[in-house]
Amino acid sequence: MTALYGFYVLIWPALTLGVLVVIIRAVMRDRRKAKEEHRDLV
């Protein structure tokens, strides 16, 4: 029960970390592509 509740609370920051990594990697890729195509990122 203790482990289950620990998981229930901590899964959300862990998921947040996962999404953060995905977004940062994607933005770096976007930035590289925009540079190659000589256009603005936004």
Binding site: M1, V9, P13, L17, A26, R39
Partner: protein, 567 residues
Amino acid sequence: MNSESLYQFSTLTVILLLVAFYGGTYLMTLGIRKKNEDADAFMVSNHRVGFGMGAASMTATWIWAASFYAAATSGYTYGVSGPIHYGLWGALMILFIYPFGRRFRKLAPDAHTLGELIHARHGSSSQLILALSNVLGSVISLMVNFTAAGALVSVLSPLSFQAGVIIAGAGVLLYTLWSGFRASVMTDFAQLVALMAIAIVIIPAVFFAMGGPSELVAGLDNLSVEQASFFSMDAILNQGAPFFVAVLAYAIGNQTISQRLFAVNEAHIKPTFLTATVGYGAIVIGLGMIGLMALTLGVQPIDGDMNNLIPQMVSGYLPPLFIALFFVLVIGALSSTADSDLSALSAIMMADVYGKNIARGKADPKRMLLVGRLTMIVATVVGIVFASFSLDILVMLVFVGALWGAIVFPVIASCFWDRVTNQAFTTSVLVAMVLFCLARFELLPLSGASGLFFELLASIGGGVIIGLMVFGFLGRTAGFIAAALALVAMLVFATGFLRDYTVLLASLTAYGASTLVCVAMSLMSRQPAFDFDTIRERVGDYDTQAETPRAHGGEASPASASLATPR
């Protein structure tokens, strides 16, 4: 309201934090600033915003200051399932719009607002109803975010509420005014990174500082049976159900979402919105867990104000550095939403009001930019004034919620069904609003025959919501089957019961009534079927039209021809 029980920053520290935040954000926008911004980019960038920037911007925009406070309040009030019943439905608002968003984008790839699409489909009256609902929503959002800034500053420092409101308003306007939506998207990314990084640290930090999982489990004894249950009916009926009903309404009625739908690279709409759904849910539910922690510990909110829960927990268990991080977290969340609201409002005034109804196809991009920037200034002033005087916006909130519910079916049906007419759209929304008011304010007794009448409409509304959600992902047949099953279930279970939940009954009535009227009038209409291909021809870029009468890709000139033709 200053509280002695919470950690207090000095005036200088808070001012330095705010200057660092807004100054840094402003400096960031200088990197993308152009001497001559173009009107289209000011509204939707280049229609090619990448997956990463798009997902970051959507997530940051959807998380506003109230998200944290309300999620924590939900955790504190409803216990174990509380944070889920706040965060999950908010996240689904992002998820459920993207199938429809792909259709919007396919119909009008160069649109800036959903109103432009509806204008091309129906004309001014339907478009202006949609634009009005968007404007009211964004003004309310601005006011709520500025209010949150004032409350935060006054709770954690000697500075006044008004000072916090004015600094936030001026700070957001400063970095959004010149480059508009481009600045909003660019800064959303940085704000989201900060926000996520802080949430990742703060949630476990508070959790382990209070004693970790064992302390949480021990504190479950303090909870009522309903609060301790993951399947609490109390939480479902009072928190989850009203939010579930609002899922499509918020998604359709909010220009900040449509703006991103039209700005993101068309091929990336799905991953962008899926990622934003997970990101929003994780952050908001996670912070809602702090409310659950407070409940298990038996913490009482200072002055009975639930908004003090998170600051209290952070203040009580963590060193001042974390309180400063929390301060930045809230300022980042409210600023990212406020700058999106300013961009949304400016796009509506530029495209829906000036472009379609004043210039009528002869829009001057430079004048459009002026309209957009003036809109931002006026909206900021209005937001600051409303927030400073703590005006009661409950009636406005109720009205906007109903309007959003009433337009869901007409907007979606207009994009898929070629028989919907302008008259059907407009009349259905107006009828739905009248019936909503009758139910919501109990102008008719919700008992006997009239109670049954509203429950029947609400049951249809429930069927419509489920049907549209399933239709978005699985297509027409599955949508019809789901709608029919939901309608039968509602008729069986809601009759004689729903009248006790006035808010839910009235919201569902708005959906049901607008659908009934819209469908009936469309079926009775003798107008020829609408050709959806004409929307693409009628909605185009403004700068392209101003520079050259040539269309994209050198084909026949759809955008410019239509913009030059008053309709």
